[in-house]
Amino acid sequence: MHPLFRRAGRLALYCFAAALSGVLLAAVLRLLTPRPWLDALVFAVPAALIYGFAVLSAWWVCRANPLSGGLSTLAAQLGAALQASALWTGAAALLGVLIARAASLGPGPPGILRDLATLFVIGIPFYLLSAVVHYLLIMFEASHAAEKSALESRVSAREAELRALRAQLNPHFLFNSLNSINALVGIDPEGARRMCEGLGDFLRRTLALGARESVPLGEELALVDRYLDIEQVRFGDRLRVERGVDPAVLDWAVPPLLLQPLVENAIKHGVQDAVEGGAVRLEARREGDLLVLTVENPFDADAPARRGEGVGLENVRRRLAAFGTHEARLVAGRVGERFRVRLELPAPHEARGGSGG
């Protein structure tokens, strides 16, 4: 629907303006063919109102023919102007006849042809004016929408960050870790001390990394190692970790707190939910211009799909989007008996360049 019809106030104002142009039109007609004011007004005001609505059709023509269309757009608009004006002239002829029949007023048969010719000539520039106004309106709306979506993406980036931090500091992870320390105090005080230290170190690193826009992969991996050390105490032999990290990519910049949620997921589904536990495999390497990170865990085909699976992945996806790199992507799925999450990040300088917003 045309935006004018969305608010009654706007529509009333527009009708008033159209009626005023009707008075102007009456003056012009009187100038060309002298007649009493009443005769001129009774024809010109309704005709102006009709055309006032007819030129709104430019809204749809403008949408169908964007300005970038150049000559073809110009041709389309000129064609539309001729059509609109011709239709208006036809409608005005009908109007003239009706008025003459009903009240013996208006231009009357002899003078009407001249009036109609005048209307046709006036109609064309008015239609084109309407087209210009509509193009401005469309541009205004587009820039407004762009602003809004930019704002929305900024808000969702912030949200993603908060969510990541909250997920990082998963309270159940803390509760279970404290319970493990509680147990170690009695049987292995040295182990309890080590675990307190490890937990403290993990929390400190999480807070520090979370405050930064991008971090070297090496630091992100160190955080994951702290996390794995703590989980190793809980799961013992059930948690096995395999690593394949190319030292050459340790300096590459990555968004912080991306890997740990993936590893947490891998432990949950590949180790915690498996009676015998399993091996979590972590890889980082270069493929062409891309940094490729993969996290794998064994996948039990017999286990039903669990609700909530994918929430962790969704978080990481949001963080990637918030990082602002279009080349970055996450692919997750089953590969044989294993579940693999593959992260692709572009070269470091691009990663930094894109992190502006």
């Binding site: 147990a183 009695g186 939910d273 017999d302 039903p304």
Partner: protein, 260 residues
């Protein structure tokens, strides 16, 4: 106290078991008769050992704490031990003696043990037999009904066949059939019996997928190959494996609603 309290520890995490062992080791009148590292082991060991009281973790591989309880008959006294507080309500519905939130201290455990002794002696007084002790009014049926929080549908069904436990993902189930106090669960050519009523089990399943087409049958709509009209108001659903399931008139209405 004449007889010691026989307790069992069920937790998949070694430190959590170690902590309970430490705490319980110094409690007078308590003997730890076993430790289990997963739900399958727990069902078997508890059925054999018949402990008075179990310390039960909730988050465990394959079979969670509630599913373990569902498969036990009789059900011993239960003290849940978990890091998650959101299961507390369900725990009370299955008449848990207590609910310990990790991490917990010695005093909190002693308090839970006191609750357990109180509960178990009152039941023992009532029945006059200590060995038959179990919290009143707990049957597998009530447990199963309470084993899922409201609004959540079942993702898997645990069934026990002697000492064996099967966990069936609901998407594999073709058909549920009422057989007296039991439900026959038909799944890919196999049939499992579960001690529960059809109505109670159907209530816990996703209503968009499982439709009660007849007083005695609940069918997985994804397994229906076609519907056949035998006579006026008499229909059968033919499943993909060729099995025919009668459809009642109200069942047909429910089926139409589910299939939209």
């Amino acid at each position: 106290m004449a007889d010691p309290l026989r307790v069992m520890i069920v937790d998949d995490e070694a430190p959590a078991r170690a902590l309970l062992r430490q705490y319980l080791g110094v409690e007078p009148g308590v003997v730890v008769v076993g430790e289990c590292v997963n739900g399958f082991e727990a069902v078997k060991a508890i059925s054999e050992q018949r402990p008075d009281l179990i310390f039960l973790d909730i988050q465990m591989p394959r079979l969670d704490g509630f599913e373990v309880l569902e498969l036990l008959d009789p059900v011993p006294g239960v003290i849940f031990c978990t890091a998650y507080d959101e299961h507390a309500l369900r725990a009370f519905e299955v008449h848990a003696v207590d609910y310990l939130l990790k991490p917990f201290g010695r005093e909190r455990l002693a308090e839970a043990l006191a609750h357990a002794r109180e509960r178990l002696t009152s039941v023992a007084d009532a029945t006059g037999m200590r060995s038959e002790s179990r919290p009143a009014a707990v049957t597998p049926g009530t447990l199963a009904a309470a084993a899922r929080p409201a609004g959540h549908t079942l993702e898997r069904i645990a069934v026990r066949d002697g000492a064996q436990v099967h966990v069936i993902p609901v998407e594999r189930v073709d058909l549920l059939e009422a057989q007296d106090d039991y439900v026959a669960i038909h799944e890919g050519g196999r049939t499992h019996l579960k001690h529960q009523t059809l109505a109670a089990l159907a209530e816990t399943l996703d209503p968009a997928r499982f439709v009660r087409v007849h007083r005695s049958f609940v069918v997985n709509v994804e397994r229906i190959a076609r519907l056949e009209l035998l006579a006026k108001d008499s229909r059968v659903a033919v499943l993909r494996d060729g099995k025919q399931v009668p459809i009642s008139r109200s069942g047909h209405e429910r089926l139409k609603a589910a299939l939209g």
